[in-house]
């Protein structure tokens, strides 16, 4: 049986996901806050024919604590707005998908929706959005608009964080708001039909206003009238991605309702099988949902040695994702093994760039290709195309077709 090729993405953040990554001699640490640093990484990912890169973001300073910012000076602190960074990378690349993180908790859904639509325009159809909620009290204090109580984290016997009752309610509420924000974005992206711009000189009309639609969204937290100010993006709807650890009171409900791609964090093949079953059992409206697994990776012949050196400089991160250290061939074995559980692709978090990224693009990707599990060239121009997702149907256009 021919299997669908794996999807492969990388998650970019600072110098990598290990707290000591920036001290790797291969990193030019002084360049982290330049466009050049990011351009080099994304070009490398594109040379590896990866589906997309994600860019981490948050509306607060990085911290390794759960209850507030830390005072550490020995780790990377500071970040760019991910949507703008992705936009700057768009003209420097031609095929790779660009998926910035944007929170729904403190932002205006209208602004985020037109920002992602504009990223799709400037990248000619390569935009995605990693939807994120923020339950952090100190990030709420940067906005002064809503009270978010400081969450006191507890651990279960397996060492996983478990939220208490108050936290459960809050998180369920934030996920509900995120689902509303995605719904608003999708309606705004559809609010211009593809052929709304007519430039009809005879009647003097630039647009056919019958093809522009008020979205009239009214939710419990906000309402948005529409239409978008930004014409429908090239992909119709950019690719919506949600990372879900399954640890929330509403596991996998947001991605099932709202996403095109869900990022999950299995720790074994059996765990992966269980997660895929859970994702697939959630109520949804029938549109395709790709399940990709997140892994934090040290890759290469000297992966264990490099990991040990980084671990000596700083304790390894308390990762929600499974941490792998080994050769590209060993990683390929693991990725193909978990595929048996229904995982359709992976978002790899390089422990340290550029070393682990280069090992992904120059060793892992060719290894998977040799095994018939990865593309040998880009066959599509858009991110939806890479992921095998269809062009998004415009709800307003189809409504009209139903009436006619």
């Amino acid at each position: 049986m021919t299997r669908a090729p794996l999807h492969l993405a990388v998650a970019l953040d600072g110098a990598g996901w290990h707290p000591a990554a920036w001290r790797d001699p291969a990193v030019n640490a002084r360049e982290l806050f330049t466009a050049r640093h990011w351009a080099g990484l994304v070009a490398e990912a594109e040379r590896g024919l990866l589906d997309f890169v994600t860019i981490e973001d948050a509306l607060g300073l990085q911290t390794s604590r759960l209850d507030g910012p830390d005072e550490r000076t020995g780790e990377v602190r500071g970040r760019f707005d991910a949507v703008l960074l992705a936009a700057a990378l768009a003209p420097l690349t031609t095929r790779i998908g660009l998926v910035p993180t944007a929170t729904t908790t403190h932002t205006e859904p209208f602004h985020v929706a037109i920002g992602i639509a504009s990223l799709d325009h400037v990248s000619l159809g390569r935009a995605g959005w990693r939807v994120q909620v923020s339950a952090r009290a100190w990030e709420a204090a940067h906005f002064g608009r809503r009270q978010i109580p400081a969450l006191i984290p507890k651990r279960d016997t397996a060492g996983q964080w478990v939220p208490d009752e108050q936290a459960r309610e809050l998180i369920a509420d934030l996920f509900e708001e995120a689902a509303d924000a995605v719904e608003v974005a999708r309606r705004l992206w559809d609010s211009w039909e593809d052929d709304a711009e007519i430039r009809d000189v005879a009647t003097g009309r630039f647009v056919d206003r019958d093809k522009l639609h008020y979205i009239d969204f009214a939710g419990s937290r906000f309402s948005v009238k529409g239409p978008s100010i930004t014409p429908r993006p090239p992909q119709g709807q950019p690719v919506v991605t949600v990372l879900d650890h399954g640890g929330s009171p509403v596991p996998y409900e947001l991605p099932a309702r709202a996403a095109d791609v869900v990022l999950v964090t299995p720790h074994s093949r059996d765990h992966a099988r269980d997660i895929v079953e859970q994702v697939r059992s959630r109520p949804r409206d029938g549109h395709p949902l790709k399940v990709l697994a997140d892994l934090l990776v040290h890759v290469g012949d000297d992966a264990a040695g490099r990991k040990a050196r980084l671990d000596e400089l700083a304790a390894p991160p308390e990762s929600d994702a499974y941490t792998f250290a080994g050769t590209a061939a060993e990683l390929a074995d693991l990725l193909l093994d978990w595929r048996e559980a229904g995982i359709e692709g992976y978002r790899l978090r390089p422990a340290a760039v550029p070393s682990d990224l280069a090992a992904i693009t120059r060793e892992l990707a060719p290894e998977l290709r040799r095994r018939g599990a990865f593309r040998s060239r880009y066959e599509a121009a858009t991110l939806r195309g890479h992921l095998g997702l269809p062009h998004a149907i415009n709800r307003y256009a189809s409504q009209k077709a139903d009436i006619a």
Binding site: F33, D81, S118, T230
Partner: protein
């Protein structure tokens, strides 16, 4: 010799854009933005300017369909342009009413990093409940609060930008010190409009503070600019009006402890060129007729009169009909505050000059425009700047994206010959181009 500053406006959503011209291309494709920006950079312009609108305009309860409709989000496009230009300043119009300081300040700081010091923010405000229908907070802001919120917004943004020392990032791989100790200060702001506590998460940008641009002609607008802005975007048509405005605004600076060179006055201006002045005048008239087509003329009349005027012939005389008193026929544009008085003024002009509806609209909606041969236009621009009616201009071409080509190819070299415009960029940042000095 006093130098001329020039900026390019990407012609967006209004009737200045002649979309029906066969040379007109997409208003949304990135190539259009990139082409116009590259032309501006070839012409050594100070910056590239994008306007904003957060709701599609309506007339008589329906979306206005005669002008260009639709545009991308400004900062996203400028971030992409940062990668295809090297020196050109990148100015985004962003509303201070429907944004929050922590988020917007970090987006602007990000653009400043991505462009290596070329970011600018044109601060605008609105109290418009119509626009508010697209946002969480709705149209909550009272008109009188617009400037107090904007002022607090700008002040708080500067506090956030200043909260990282310029040398905060040490990135010393040997010692393991990424940040200097104490290099990131906590911000604690409790004001009338904002309560912000915490730490900013973008290092200080190359310019320290992105350039602040502000438009506005009211007394409070001028005062806001004198206190806060690096560039003021005005619209004074004649030399005399320009000089009066210039003198007034520059005089206000001292009270804020600022020098005259720290605020540049740059009115918006259109232009029409020809080989001779007569040919340019003909071209200017033709452009205005394209900008104000028959349907557009009626639409303008409806905005002033506040009622349906679609039954009248745009090429015929102004009908003998009184304006409606109630407001609200037009949404998303500047509201006409006293219909009866404005309509009376329009009628008087129409009668005196014997103008048709369309001719009247063309006459009444014209703005500062340089019309003539390249030599004439260069001389006019130099005169405005030399005699302190302006420090430069934000040019609004009528075509996308090729509308600046003639100006850059034919007028810029003449300004350079006159010694009043740079032949190359001297500095790297927009603050350098504008001669503003570093951020305070």
């Amino acid at each position: 010799m006093k130098q001329v500053h020039l900026a390019a406006h990407f012609p967006g959503v209004n009737n200045t854009t002649v979309w029906a011209d066969p040379r007109s291309r997409s208003q949304i494709d990135f190539t259009s933005f990139a082409d116009l920006a590259r032309t501006a950079e070839r012409g050594k312009f100070d910056f590239f300017f994008l306007a904003e609108g957060l709701r599609l305009r309506e007339l008589k309860g329906r979306i206005h369909d005669l002008d260009v409709v639709g545009r991308p989000e400004s900062l996203t496009v400028l971030a992409a342009l940062a990668s295809v230009t090297e020196r050109l300043g990148l100015a985004a119009t962003v509303n201070a009413t429907f944004n929050e300081p922590y988020e917007l300040a970090r987006r602007l700081a990000t653009l400043d990093h991505l462009s290596a010091g070329r970011a600018a923010w044109n601060v605008v405000t609105t109290s418009d409940a119509f626009t508010g229908e697209n946002f969480r907070r709705g149209g909550y802001l009272d008109r009188s609060e617009r400037y107090t919120r904007a002022e607090e917004f700008v002040r708080l943004s500067r506090e956030l930008w200043d909260s990282w020392r310029p040398d905060a990032v040490l990135a010393d791989q040997e010692s393991g010190r990424f940040l200097r100790s104490g290099a990131v200060s906590a911000v604690s702001h409790r004001g009338r409009h904002f309560t912000v506590e915490g730490r900013f998460n973008v290092p200080r940008g190359p310019q320290g503070h992105p350039v602040i641009i502000q438009a506005g002609d009211s007394d409070e607008g001028r005062e806001f600019a004198a206190a806060n802005a690096d560039v003021i975007f005005s619209r004074h048509g004649t030399l005399e009006e320009g000089r009066a405005f210039y003198a007034d605004v520059k005089r206000r600076l001292a009270a804020h402890g600022r020098q005259p060179h720290q605020l540049k006055i740059m009115p918006a201006a259109t232009f029409a060129l020809g080989d001779t002045d007569a040919e340019a005048a003909e071209r200017a008239a033709e452009i205005r007729r394209q900008q104000v087509g028959p349907q557009t003329a009626i639409a303008f009349l409806e905005q002033i009169w506040g009622r349906d005027m679609s039954a009248y012939d745009p090429e015929g005389p102004l009908p003998d009909v009184e304006p409606a008193v109630e407001q609200g026929v037009s949404q998303g544009r500047v509201q006409v505050s006293d219909r009866v008085a404005v309509a009376a003024r329009w009628r008087a002009v129409a009668e005196e000059k014997e103008l048709s509806i369309r001719e009247l609209v063309i006459h009444m909606t014209g703005r500062q425009s340089f019309v003539g041969s390249p030599a004439t236009v260069a001389a006019q621009i130099e005169e405005f700047v030399r005699t302190d009616a302006a420090d430069g201009f934000i040019l609004v071409p009528h075509l996308t994206p090729g509308g600046l080509d003639d100006f850059v190819d034919r007028v810029v070299p003449l300004l350079q010959e006159r010694g009043v415009f740079r032949t190359d960029y001297a500095g790297a940042t927009l603050r350098d181009h504008l001669g503003l000095g570093g951020a305070a």
